[in-house]
Structure formats: C-alpha cells, structure tokens
C-alpha cells in the first residue's frame, strides 16, 4: 500500500485527458473504419483504464508486489479470453462433421 500523496495537479491533468479520450472515442465511432473501429475503441479504452489505474489508483507509486498481483489478474483474464477464442475461432476450420 502506497502512502504517497499525489498532487491535485496530477489528478486534474489525468481527469482532462480522460474527458478528451472519451470525446475521441465518441467521435471515432462515427467513422467507417471497418475492423479498425473495434481496435481503435479498445485501444482508447485500455489507455483510459491504464490512466485510471496508474494515477487515480496509485498503481504507479505502489509496491512492486501489488503491481505483480494486478498484472497477474489481467494476465489470467488474457488466458481465459485467448483460450476461449482459440476454440470458437477455429471450429469452422474443420470441414468434417464430428457426430
């Protein structure tokens, strides 16, 4: 647990960036970008989540062990999604019907 006091100016800057990113993702979603719509939207969402975690949640100033726990949580989420999708996305590759 970190007890570093983050100055208000830092919070304010992050707050403004979050609002700008929200406006950006709102604007980009109106453009026709094909598959890039989803990619851009997710990149912006990940950036916003990182800013909230690093500064609002003080992860940047936290103990290394805390950071590992968080990274572990996200990593397991990645495993779950990757393994699930590796099943669903490859089912159509088999042309034989498995009855």
């Amino acid at each position: 647990m970190s007890h570093k006091v983050v100055p208000i100016s830092t919070y304010l800057v992050i707050f403004v960036i979050l609002l700008v990113l929200t406006a950006t993702t709102y604007w980009v979603s109106s453009l026709e970008l094909g598959r890039w719509n989803a990619i851009v939207a997710l990149c912006i969402a990940v950036t916003k989540a990182l800013l909230v975690a690093l500064y609002f949640m003080h992860v940047r100033y936290s103990h290394r062990l805390t950071q590992i726990v968080i990274a572990g949580g996200v990593f397991w989420l990645g495993i779950m999604i990757a393994l699930t999708m590796s099943d669903y996305l490859t089912r159509s590759w088999l042309s034989v019907s498995l009855k």
Partner: protein, 191 residues
C-alpha cells in the same frame, strides 16, 4: 483489496469473454442491435463516472492531507454523481422495458436479427446490471465513510478505508470504460 479486485476482474471477465464470443459469431447483428441503445445517455454516464472518479481521487487526497471538510465534500459529490449515474441507468432500463427489448416472455424485436438481439440484450442487462449493483454497493461504502469522517475517525495516519474504497470505486469506473464502447458505440458508424 487488490486480491479482491483481481477476483473481480475474473468475475466481469467471464461476461466480457461471453460478449467476445457472441460478438465474433454475430458481428453484424450486434452492431445493428447496438443502435437501439441511447448513445447520448451512455456518453453522459461515461462523463459522470469519470467526474466521480476525479472527486473520489480528491477525497483520498483530502484524507491523506488531513483536510476533513474537503474529504466529506468530495465523498458527498462522489455519492451524488453515483446517484446521477444510477438515475440515468434507471431511465434507460425503463425505456427498454417499454420497447419490449428486455429478454423474456414479452421480448419483441422485429427483423432478421431477433435471436441475436435477445443475446445482445441479455449480455447488456447482465453486464450493466452487475455494474449497477457494484455502483450501489460503492455508494453504500462511501456513505459509511461520510458517517465515519463526520465523527472524525480519519487522520493523516489512519485513512486506509478511504483509500481502499477509492480503489473499489475506480475499479467500477474502469469496468464502465470498457462497457461504454463495447455496448453503445459498436453500431454508430452504420448510421
């Protein structure tokens, strides 16, 4: 607290995985059905939640530096913004009930995407519903903090409850940061 939040990642992660699976199977249908959500209300709610995270961060700052009035004021502001969020969410749900877009016996969605629409709205209500439940719990936590702060329980040395409740509040904000583009914005370019 972080261990608990790691379990929360997996809790919401299950629903996000289900969403990913069905969206990859029915990408076009999801994009079309998504247009029935109110983007303006969704965007306003996103801004409301970001503001509430900001006031929560200021509340933690107030607790850490021993500014009791700032702490109480920011906690009350955060609670108020949380209630605004829930109010808007309630209005959206109400509208969905009127449109018969709530999965169940009276569900009705004309056009070729009836089944996919039921799937999309099931995910929508499950994800936003559980998120709203977390908001209600968060508001409960913050209310207790206001009570304790009024009684002068928090000092520069002892403010863990404020800090930990802040972590929880920011986490719930992060969940919405992902729900917003995934549920509201995926069909906007089709309009």
């Amino acid at each position: 607290m972080w261990i608990f939040l790691a379990t929360e990642i997996m809790f919401f992660g299950g629903m996000f995985t289900a969403y990913t699976v069905y969206r990859s199977l029915h990408a076009l249908a999801f994009a079309e059905v998504s247009q029935h959500l109110d983007i303006v209300l969704g965007t306003v709610n996103t801004v409301v939640l970001i503001c509430s995270s900001f006031t929560m961060a200021l509340a933690v700052y107030g607790a850490q530096t021993g500014r009791r009035r700032m702490l109480i004021l920011c906690l009350l502001l955060t609670i108020a913004l949380g209630l605004v969020f829930l109010g808007i969410k309630f209005a959206e749900y109400h509208h969905k009930f009127e449109e018969h877009h709530v999965p169940g016996l009276s569900f009705h969605y004309p056009g070729p995407y009836g089944q996919e629409a039921a799937m999309f709205f099931s995910l929508y209500f499950a994800m936003t519903g559980v998120h709203a439940l977390h908001m209600i719990i968060g508001i409960g936590l913050l209310s207790v903090l206001v009570y304790l702060a009024l009684r002068g329980r928090f000092t520069v040395e002892y403010n863990h409850p404020v800090e930990l409740s802040g972590l929880y509040w920011h986490f719930v904000d992060i969940i919405w940061i992902f729900l917003y583009p995934l549920l509201y914005l995926i069909g906007r370019h089709l309009r």
